[in-house]
């Protein structure tokens, strides 16, 4: 769906967990999430920290929408390995 929205001229930030598949399929602005069942969440965190993570994700999504890309691009919101889960 993200690809089709982009095809129609609407820049779209795709928030998803399985990034390699999203890239292989050809989504252009990909924002990695922490879990399949909670794209904009992290239930392992206390409420306040989970909302802070959600905000980080959204800000990354907004940045992706403002960024020119030439093909499938990942916009991370954190260093890999963060979260200690």
């Amino acid at each position: 769906m993200a690809k089709e929205l982009e095809r129609e001229g609407i820049p779209t930030a795709l928030l998803c967990n399985i990034v390699p598949i999203a890239l292989a399929v050809g989504a252009n602005r990909v924002v990695p999430t922490r879990g399949i069942q909670y794209p904009t969440g992290d239930p392992s965190l206390p409420r306040e920290q989970e909302e802070a993570w959600r905000e980080r994700l959204l800000l990354t999504a907004l940045k992706a929408l403002e960024t020119e890309v030439s093909g499938p691009t990942v916009f991370p919101s954190e260093e890999r390995g963060e979260g200690g889960r």
Partner: protein, 346 residues
């Protein structure tokens, strides 16, 4: 003795060229034009009992009406097999042949095969289930084009199992379960040994072909933009008022979020069948981040959130459906001045 009906256009029926392309469907007894060659190739296995003729322009402009008339004629003729073309590189003729073959097979359950060049736009009918045999691009190759068309037709009419690789027709994008000739373990070991040795091997499952989409230009200043929230997580108002299916969704829905500062548990739920929804239902903002998006809107990080969010279930949803949803959503939000979208996926 197979009762074969042959479909040709006005030109191959010998009735004229472009000036006769508006010919409505009609039937002639016995073979006409290249049908005579088909008849001789049949060698007693069957008979070209009739020829259906339709003008390419008429078919192109009135495909439903043309098919309706041709279907009636086919039915009356009690055809055991229908062969269409060969259309070579002729685009409108190929489209007609492909569509007639598809219609005969899928709607009348009459075995049907068409022939055309593999780049003829008419080959799109294969993806809809038609059997299409590739042939040369010009009528000069008629003699080479007819035998494969006939052979496949006869085999199809006999009820034998067919496969594109073996029987030489264009892939129809249909896969069926069969009993394997060798156990999977044996095939796997054979395949890995071939791969190691650099010998050719044939993978058994086609990899999806994904086209690249030119990225949409970025939003110049997101603080001035209206942003729409879209999701395939299956988030819906409690009770699923529009009955979105938990797998193979047939539609999407939009729900108002104007004035809502977040999704309250119990008021919204996920109906997605592909993952455990407990965590999401405990806080639906984990699926669509309305609470934080609203705060960002208030803080001026975006101009505004679109008044509706869009939702469907991305579990076993066909690619074509997903694309159709996205096109409808895009068309609506563009009309409403939305400049960007955030799509959450599970």
């Amino acid at each position: 003795m197979l009762r074969v009906v042959h479909y040709v256009n006005q030109f191959f029926a010998g009735l004229g060229g472009e000036e006769k392309a508006d010919l409505k469907p009609e039937v002639r007894s016995g073979p006409v034009g290249p049908g005579r060659l088909l008849q001789s190739l049949l060698q007693g296995k069957g008979e070209v009992v009739a020829t259906l003729i339709c003008g390419d322009t008429y078919f192109a402009e009135q495909p439903e009406e043309a098919c309706r008339r041709l279907a009636d004629l086919l039915f009356t003729l009690k055809a055991d097999l229908m062969l269409a073309g060969p259309a070579f590189a002729s685009g409108r003729y190929g489209l007609a042949c492909g569509e007639v073959a598809r219609m005969a097979l899928n709607e009348l359950t009459i075995p049907a095969v068409a022939a055309m060049h593999h780049e003829n736009p008419g080959v799109q009918a294969a993806a809809a289930g038609a059997y299409i045999v590739p042939c040369g691009s010009s009528a000069a190759s008629m003699k080479e084009a007819l035998p494969p068309l006939l052979a496949l037709g006869i085999k199809l009419a006999s009820g034998s199992a067919l496969s594109p690789n073996v029987d030489g027709y264009l892939p129809r994008g249909i896969r069926k379960n069969v009993t394997a000739d060798l156990p999977a373990a044996v095939r796997a070991v054979n395949m890995v040994l071939a791969k190691i040795a650099g010998r050719p091997f044939t993978s058994e499952i086609p990899l999806p072909q994904f086209d690249r989409v030119t990225p949409a230009p970025p939003v110049p200043d997101i603080r001035q933009a209206t942003v729409a929230l879209v999701t395939e997580s299956g988030l819906v108002p409690a009770g699923n008022p529009d009955r979105i299916e938990s797998s193979r969704a047939s539609h999407f829905a939009r729900y108002s979020i104007g004035g809502l500062r977040g999704f309250a548990p119990g008021e919204f739920e996920s109906v997605h069948g592909g993952y455990s929804t407990d965590l999401a239902n405990a806080d639906p903002n984990r699926l669509v981040p309305l609470d934080v998006a609203r705060r960002l809107e208030e803080a001026g990080r975006i101009a505004r959130l679109y008044d509706y969010y869009f939702t469907t279930v991305g579990n076993g949803t066909s690619v074509q459906k997903a694309q159709a949803f996205a096109r409808e959503i895009a068309s609506e939000i563009r009309r409403s001045g939305v400049q960007a979208a955030i799509l959450t996926a599970t």
